[in-house]
Amino acid sequence: MSFQATPELEAEVNELISHYPVKRAASLMVLHAIQEKFGWISSDAVQWTAKKLELQPINVFEILTFYPMLRQEPQGKYAIKVCRTLSCALGGAYELHHHFCEKLGLDAHKHGPQTTKDGKFTVEFVECLASCGTAPVMMVGEKFYEGVSHKKADEIVAGCK
């Protein structure tokens, strides 16, 4: 299915482009906008973006593949990101990640984002989320959770409807 930009997205992208004297600069923000609407960035979306910014698709593809936050595949409704870097690791991030994987039936040793079979959750063990003082920390979508105990983790999962 080819990518269809909604009028709202089109308007948002036009607004973003107006922030920069050079169109290309908007590419990262445009990709964010697309991901926000669709959850991921398809090949067609890349081509749409490139056309919009007067670029070659490879220019957009280059940055899409660079940034781990940008998704090339659909992800679960709830994207759980658990921080794994040192301070959180000292605070029990590995155990927390393990806990999530176990709870959601995923492989804790597998790398990269994993989505549950029902497509509800995507769990990813990510690098520093910059809140090391309240380790371990995690995000669900855009929501941030600090000092996550296993109990709190269970509540968070339960809260995802």
């Binding site: 600069a25 964010h32 940034y67 990101k81 040192l86 000292l90 063990f125 690098e127 090391c132």
Partner: protein
């Protein structure tokens, strides 16, 4: 006795303080901007005239403010390098890509007091004739980006941003640009490339110094969030007054991010150099000491890339004696004053002022393996030594932590790490990824050798070769 000294976070943590503009205005917000606009051209003794902009820049120079991002470079000097004769527009970028593991100070400012940053930015823009500025915020802070966008909207509505700000005739616009999860975007030229919509590959210097050939090949200033907030306070209190805070050459205050094995992890704003590491970790006003029954093993004093300090290490610190002569005083690592210069003398750095404390429960090999995985994941892959070396170190450490180590791996790791830093790479990431390995191995070599030996002995019993383990990234 060391005290918290709240300058930037003065109001942020007060009960009832909200990030909206009304609250900010109630606390004297944007008064400093008005003060900056009120500067008049003045004639100096030699008959030269000094524009308000030049005076503002002079104040920042006088204040001795050093960049809070990590390198600790003088902000006034950085501004003085800007090519103002090129005729090209000058850009200012606020580096809010706070990605150094252990650091979470900018998050507090952005979430709790965004207008302070915006005011600091507008003043800095005014001082440098910048008409267009960006806040590059890391992608993992979507809330921060929303708060900033809302704050910018409010500021615009109140006439602090946009055309002819407060009737001064000065136009300025600020936009928020979001990253998407790349540590390398914290490097200023990498950030510029990312903002231009390219892969964030740091640029070669020479010739691409941001002050001359920065964003879209125009002169560009890149400053950290905390640095730009400080500009506001410098203008408010005067550069000379600001310079009285802290210690000579280490002026002002710093927000220290304290994490790891302390009772009270968190952020604490102190006058630079007015507290020692011991105070920060043990004092009840700060970290409150280690968990009960635990002993200190190591401290990473300035964000994950700074060199580790081992408990009990002693350093020769240069001090002035009663007669003002330089003398060397033997100082325990915990008694190092937390400032730029003392830590530099101890062979490490205060970096982004993030202290990670590790007690004796920590497996030091595992801790380094954790860090090396971060660096292997974050290397942009532009320069050969860092691209290949960061992953190589990670693979070796992965082996060591998964029972496939060798006794020789300790030396092996140092040799790999030695191939990366020291100007062999375009940006400082090469140093950042090899310093932890070099310092951990220099200070905890025995732990690594013991681990490797144990693995060797176990395998000898099983008579098997070391397995090749795959390491991969998210």
């Amino acid at each position: 006795m060391a005290q918290e000294y709240k300058l930037i976070l003065k109001h942020a943590d007060e009960a009832g303080y909200t990030p909206d503009i009304e609250c900010y205005l109630r606390h004297g917000g944007y008064d400093t901007l008005k003060k900056a606009f009120a500067f008049q051209t003045k004639t100096l003794a030699e008959g030269k005239t000094q524009t308000p902009q030049e005076q503002l820049r002079q104040e920042v120079m006088t204040s001795g403010l050093r960049g809070r991002g990590g390198a600790g470079f003088s902000c006034g000097l950085k501004w003085s390098f800007v090519d103002r004769k090129s005729g090209k527009p000058i850009y200012l970028i606020c580096n809010a890509d706070e990605s150094e593991p252990g650091t979470f100070k900018d998050r507090q400012i952005i979430h709790k007091d965004p207008h302070q940053l915006i005011e600091g930015m507008i003043i800095s823009c005014f001082a440098n004739d910048v008409k267009l500025a960006y806040i590059y915020i890391r992608g993992e802070m979507p809330e921060g980006a929303k708060i900033l966008n809302a704050a910018l909207k409010e500021a615009r509505a109140k006439g602090f941003l946009g055309k002819n700000i407060l009737g001064s005739g000065f136009d300025c616009e600020i936009h928020v640009h979001r990253g998407a999860g790349a540590y390398i975007c914290g490097e200023e030229t990498g950030l510029i490339e990312s903002l231009e919509g390219k892969r964030p590959y740091p640029r070669i210097k020479p010739p691409y110094f941001p002050a001359v050939l920065g964003l879209w090949m125009c002169p560009t200033i890149v400053n950290n969030v905390e640095t730009l907030c400080n500009v506001k306070h410098i203008v408010a209190m005067g550069g000379a007054e600001f310079a009285k805070l802290g210690t000579p050459n280490n002026t002002g205050t710093r927000i220290v991010s304290l994490s790891g094995h302390v009772k009270k992890p968190g952020y604490y704003e102190i006058e630079v150099g007015k507290a020692t590491l011991r105070e920060l970790i043990e004092d009840s006003k700060f970290g409150g000491g280690l968990r009960d029954g635990r002993k200190l093993k190591a401290i990473i004093p300035g964000g994950s890339s700074s060199k580790v300090l081992k408990a009990g290490e002693k350093f020769k610190l240069k001090k002035k004696d009663a007669e003002g002569k330089d003398i060397l005083v033997e100082t325990d690592m915990l008694d190092l004053p937390y400032d730029f210069d003392s830590l530099a003398q101890a062979g490490t750095m205060s970096g982004s002022s993030a202290i990670i404390v590790m007690d004796d429960s920590v497996d030091i090999v595992g801790a380094l393996a954790n860090l090396s995985e971060f660096y292997a994941h974050e290397s942009c892959g532009q320069c050969t030594p860092c691209r290949e070396g960061s992953l190589w170190m990670n693979k070796t450490l992965h082996r060591l932590t998964h029972g496939e180590g060798r006794a020789q791996d300790a030396d092996y790791l140092v040799k790999i790490a030695d191939n990366i830093p020291g100007g062999r790479t375009i940006c400082a990431f090469g140093e950042a990824c090899s310093w932890p390995v070099q310092s951990f191995l220099a200070k905890f070599k025995d732990d690594f050798v013991a681990k490797g030996k144990a693995d060797e002995e176990r395998r000898a019993k099983e008579t098997s070769e070391p397995k090749k383990l795959e390491v991969a990234h998210h």
